[in-house]
Structures are given as structure tokens and as C-alpha cells.
């Protein structure tokens, strides 16, 4: 019986229980410049389950952190309004933006960093 138990545990397949991870989406302006404040609406669709995670908010940084995300392949779409300043120019500008990616792999266990370039609409 002991031999059986040992053999069973040794050859047993282990469950893969690491279901969730954290993704950090870094948005960058197209011609350099710093983001002062941003209002965004983020949609992340899991390509395997077709479930969509939606997040809306505002931030002073250019980075959006999404936690408790099921690992897998995603398509990402962010849109909103950004106030930014360009180096060497006076004052700050406001523009609507969009950032898209139709495939991103979010499988790392600790942190996944995704860089997206913003497309300014104005």
C-alpha cells in the first residue's frame, strides 16, 4: 500500500492552479511628452473565453494596473481623454485617445507589462 501511495504521488499529474495574474498596461504618447492626467475606459477581452473585463477611471500616471486577471490571450482596447504636455512647448494640451492591441499574451505569473502607443484623435 505504501509503495502504491508513493508511486501514485510521484507519477501524479499536478494541478495547474495558478489561475490569475496582474497586468500593467503602460500607455505612451506618440511623440514623447508626459501625461498629466487621463480619463480612460479599458476593455480587455479574453480570446479563449470571450469574457470581457471593463475598467473605467482616471489617473495621473500613464499606467493602468488590472489585477485578478485570468491568464490567457487578450485583446485590449483603451479609449478616453488625456491632458498632456510636450517638452519644449508651453502649457498642456487635451486630446482624445485610443490604444488598441488585438493580441496580447498575459501568462506570466508575477506581472505582465504591456506597452501600448496612444493614438491621439485631435
Amino acid at each position: 500500500m505504501c509503495v502504491l501511495a508513493v508511486l501514485c504521488t510521484a507519477s501524479c499529474h499536478d494541478d495547474r492552479d495558478d489561475y490569475t495574474t496582474i497586468a500593467s498596461i503602460d500607455l505612451t504618447l506618440p511623440d514623447g511628452g508626459t501625461i498629466e492626467t487621463m480619463q480612460y475606459s479599458l476593455h480587455m477581452m479574453n480570446l479563449n473565453t470571450r469574457n470581457t473585463v471593463t475598467l473605467a477611471g482616471s489617473t495621473h500616471a500613464g499606467s493602468l494596473v488590472v489585477g485578478d486577471l485570468l491568464r490567457g490571450a487578450y485583446s485590449i482596447s483603451v479609449e478616453g481623454v488625456v491632458r498632456y504636455s510636450v517638452a519644449g512647448a508651453e502649457g498642456s494640451r487635451v486630446a482624445q485617445f485610443r490604444a488598441l492591441s488585438d493580441y496580447v499574451s498575459i501568462v506570466e505569473l508575477n506581472k505582465n507589462v504591456i506597452s501600448l502607443e496612444m493614438i491621439l484623435m485631435d
Binding site: L4, C8, D15, L47, N48, T49
Partner: protein, 501 residues
């Protein structure tokens, strides 16, 4: 004249002897007490000591099964099956025995829904399914053969079992499944203190190809890659209709059994792991899911042979099934890389029971068997969370009588009944996110699985021993009825007709 008379008496005596010995063979092979050893005799090293007599059957069977309403939707509402079978156990002397089985069955399953693959009970919930379903036709070939011997105190045995099956439908959705299932067993044992202690190793290779076609251009419906409790692998559901299941596994077993006609301990312990991978052929053999099935089991009991024979044993079996889902990355020219895999579905099945038997073999043999126990099954899908649990307590009573009304006849009668009461059940489903036909399927299956049910069965077999030959003919009939939820019935009738030597 004297010589002729002597030959006549001798031949008659031989005929009489052979009818008695054929009756004894029937009693030995068909006796209900053999249930005590049903697990130890799967070890080929043990099976050599199973019977003292040889018996070979060749027979036809016809089976009808009808359900008033489907129990499990994936099992359908009945079947009609015709088969020709040969079953043999032959003693080659005191130390060696060979045994084998061959059969061909063909028939029809009715109203199978939500399942387009063969071997649903083996591969569930990782199957291909659709909402339409229908009748399927089925053919099965089985070949089994084994050899066992003992030399001194050592026992050795080997066995091979092969099953090929085909299941198909001639109307849309046209499914076609072809199964091949090969199992090899080897066993070795040693005599200690009037018992045989034996170990066995079993290996299994399993393959199934399954495809679903639609001939009507506007009539195609999505085929879902089901993953458990109504969950679907959304990305590859719809038109990925060409699957291969490949898998297999190993099993280790240890057995203890007393020698024939001795008292002693009967014990079996086993552990096994099997896996079945579902591969999408048209996506460059992308694996979609793998089902892992791990089992441990234990049977411990005592068998007593005397004026009155009795046996008492307890069973425990734990079965852990889980599904790993493979997450696919982007596609470039239909080649999807697997970027990760997660265990999304878990299923725990437990079976415990205690059984007692009393009776005796002989010219008139009778047996009474009673058992009681608990069956529990809980399954869940990790995210989005779905869960289903049910547990049944059951009691079962069976009786058998074998007697010889005259020298030419042997009659076997069998009666049994059981009652399963559901003592706990639980269902958790994200109904807001589910499509209506999935909700109906889950609700129906849960109602069936968590209901109380009663089963009763009766059978009779009549053997006519043709005097002065080694042959006998037999006919048997068996009727079973299961009454489940809402008093819906499952009726089954089985006829057998054949010869044996």
C-alpha cells in the same frame, strides 16, 4: 453382447457423469459468490485459480432498453443491441488455465443529445456536443485473451483486452467516432499461508477519432467543445468538428485471496492514472483539453467455506478527475501555440460500501447478498464558478438459486433490487451568463442525478444438457427496471440463446 452392454453402460454413465459435471461447471462459473473475487480475478496471476472446471459459451444476445423520458440527456432514451459472443475458460491441467472472450455487437442508441463522441462516460465532460443530437448506430468488437499458470509457489499470468468501436449517425449532425482501446495486464503471485498474494501491472492505450459533418448547407448548428457543467471552450466552439482523443494510463494492483475452497482474507488495493487529450486536428493538432483520471481503491473482506459459505467485505473507491485547458496564443496560418494550461474542472467521486453474502454451492446452490453504502460526486468549474454536488445512500439485496430439476436440466434464477436515496445535493450556476439551452440541459441532468431511484431486476436461465455429448444449449432472459425522477422508468430486456461445452 456383454461388450456392447458394457459400452452402452459406460457411455450412459459417461453421459450421466458429463451432465452432472456440466451442471457443476454452471454452478461454479455462474454462482453469485464469484462477486467476492471479481476484483482479485482481474489480476491474471489470480485468475488461473478461479475455477476447477472448463466452460465455453457461444451465444447470441438481443437487448432492448427503453426510457420513458431520458435520464441523462447524453445517454439517450434507450438502445437496441444484437450481439454474438463467445466466452471461454479452459483448464489445461492442474496448473494452467487460459481464458478468452470475443464478441461483435451492433445496434442503435436513441435520442443522444449534447454528445457527439463515443465512450461518453469515459471522456465526460470533455466531449463535443450540440443541441440537436439524434439516434446513433453503433458497432463494437471485443477480443480478450489471457493465460495463467502456477509453478510451485509462484503464480504468473498475462492478459490482453482489445475493444474497437464505431458510432455514427446517418442524418445531420453526422457524427462518426472510431475507438480503439487496448489493455495489457501482467501479474505475478506467491503462495503464503494458504493464500495467494499477487501484484499486477496494467497498461492502456486509447485512441478515438471523432468528426461531425453537416450535409445540409443551411442546416449546420454549432458544435460546442464542452468542458464541464455547461462551460464551453468558446474560442474553438462552432466549427472545429474534427477531434482526436488520445490517451492511456497505468494501473498498479495488489491482491490477496485464499486458495479455492479455503477460508481466508480477500483483499485488493489499486491505484491508477489515466489521461485523455482532446486534440483539434484541423488546427494543426492543437490540444484543447486533457482529462486526468486518478483512482485509488481498496476492498478488504473475509470468505468462509464450510457447510454454509459466507463472505463479508468492504469497498472504498476514490476517483479524482480533472481537466486541464490549454490556452492558445495568436494564430498565424492556423498554427496556434499553447501559451499556458490551467486546471479548470475538478470532479471528486467517492464510493463506499459494505457487502455480506451467505449461501452454498452444490447440486442445488443458493445465495443471498446484501450491501449498503454511500456514493458521492462533487464537481466544479473554477472560473466562472459553477458547482454541482450530489450524494446517495443505497441499500441493495440480491438472491440467486441454481438447481437441477432433472439430469438434463439446470435452472438458474436471479432476483435483485436496490434503492438509492439522495442525501445531499447542491447546484451553483451563473444563470445570467448562460444561454437557455445550456440552462435546460444542466437543470434536467441535475434533477435526474439528485433524485432518489429504485432498481429491480429478475432473470432466469435454463440449460439443457444434450445427453451423450459434451454440448448443452441454454436460453436466458433478464428484465431490469429503474424508476427515477418523477416516476420515469428505464426498462431493459435481455435475451440470450446459445450453446456451451
Amino acid at each position: 453382447m456383454l461388450a456392447l452392454a458394457a459400452w452402452h453402460i459406460g457411455a450412459h454413465a459417461q453421459a450421466v457423469d458429463s451432465t452432472i459435471s456440466r451442471h457443476d461447471a454452471i454452478v461454479e462459473h455462474q454462482s453469485l459468490i464469484n462477486d467476492v473475487n471479481e476484483l482479485t480475478w482481474t489480476n491474471p496471476a489470480m485468475k488461473e485459480g478461479a475455477y476447477a472446471t472448463s466452460l465455453t459459451h457461444i451465444y447470441l444476445t438481443a437487448q432492448w432498453q427503453r426510457l420513458t423520458k431520458p435520464f441523462l440527456l447524453q445517454h439517450g432514451t434507450g438502445q437496441s443491441l444484437v450481439a454474438v459472443k463467445a466466452d471461454s475458460y479452459i483448464r489445461l491441467g492442474n496448473r494452467t488455465a487460459v481464458w478468452g472472450r470475443a464478441s461483435y455487437s451492433t445496434g442503435k442508441n436513441r435520442n443522444i443529445k449534447w454528445n457527439s463522441v463515443a465512450d461518453y462516460d469515459l471522456l465526460q465532460p470533455d466531449v463535443l456536443g450540440d443541441t440537436l443530437g439524434g439516434n446513433t448506430r453503433r458497432e463494437q468488437y471485443v477480443f480478450e485473451g489471457g493465460y495463467g499458470t502456477h509453478r510451485g509457489r509462484w503464480h504468473l499470468g498475462g492478459e490482453m483486452l482489445f475493444r474497437a468501436e464505431q458510432e455514427y449517425r446517418k442524418v445531420d449532425p453526422r457524427n462518426r467516432s472510431i475507438v480503439s482501446d487496448l489493455t495489457l495486464r501482467a501479474g505475478a503471485g506467491y503462495d503464503i499461508a494458504n493464500h495467494v498474494i499477487a501484484f499486477a501491472l496494467q497498461g492502456n492505450i486509447y485512441r478515438q477519432t471523432c468528426s461531425v459533418d453537416f450535409y445540409k448547407p443551411l442546416g449546420s448548428i454549432p458544435e460546442y467543445q464542452l468542458m464541464g457543467l455547461g462551460e464551453v471552450y468558446t474560442r474553438f466552439s462552432g466549427d472545429v468538428n474534427d477531434l482526436i482523443f488520445k490517451g492511456g494510463g497505468i494501473k498498479l494492483q495488489a491482491d490477496v485471496s485464499p486458495h479455492r475452497h479455503s477460508n481466508g482474507v480477500i483483499a485488493t488495493a489499486w491505484a491508477s492514472q489515466h489521461s485523455y487529450e482532446r486534440v483539434a486536428r484541423m488546427l494543426n493538432s492543437l490540444p484543447l483539453t486533457t482529462l486526468y483520471n486518478k483512482e485509488v481503491g481498496l476492498r478488504v473482506g473475509w470468505k468462509h467455506c464450510g457447510a454454509l459459505n459466507y463472505a463479508l467485505w468492504g469497498d472504498y473507491q476514490f476517483n479524482r478527475r480533472s481537466t486541464d485547458q490549454y490556452l492558445a496564443g495568436t494564430s498565424s496560418s492556423q498554427i496556434y501555440p499553447v501559451i499556458a494550461h490551467l486546471t479548470m474542472y475538478k470532479n471528486y467521486i467517492i464510493h463506499t460500501s459494505l457487502t455480506a453474502m451467505v449461501g452454498r454451492n452444490g447440486t442445488t446452490a443458493w445465495w443471498v447478498k446484501a450491501s449498503a453504502g454511500y456514493d458521492g460526486n462533487r464537481e466544479h468549474f473554477v472560473t466562472p464558478r459553477r458547482a454541482m454536488k450530489r450524494g446517495h445512500v443505497f441499500g441493495q439485496l440480491e438472491g440467486q438459486a441454481i438447481f437441477a430439476p432433472s439430469r438434463q436440466w439446470t435452472l438458474t434464477t436471479h432476483l435483485g433490487g436496490s434503492y438509492h436515496a439522495c442525501v445531499n445535493d447542491y447546484l451553483l450556476m451563473p444563470l445570467a451568463d448562460m444561454e437557455p439551452h445550456f440552462i435546460d440541459m444542466i437543470k434536467h441532468n441535475f434533477t435526474v442525478l439528485s433524485s432518489n431511484y429504485t432498481h429491480a431486476g429478475a432473470g432466469m436461465r435454463a440449460d439443457y444438457h444434450i445427453g451423450r455429448t459434451r454440448y448443452s444449449v441454454f436460453g436466458a432472459v433478464r428484465y431490469d427496471i429503474t424508476v427515477g425522477y418523477n416516476r420515469e422508468c428505464d426498462n431493459s430486456l435481455l435475451f440470450s440463446l446459445g450453446i456451451y461445452i
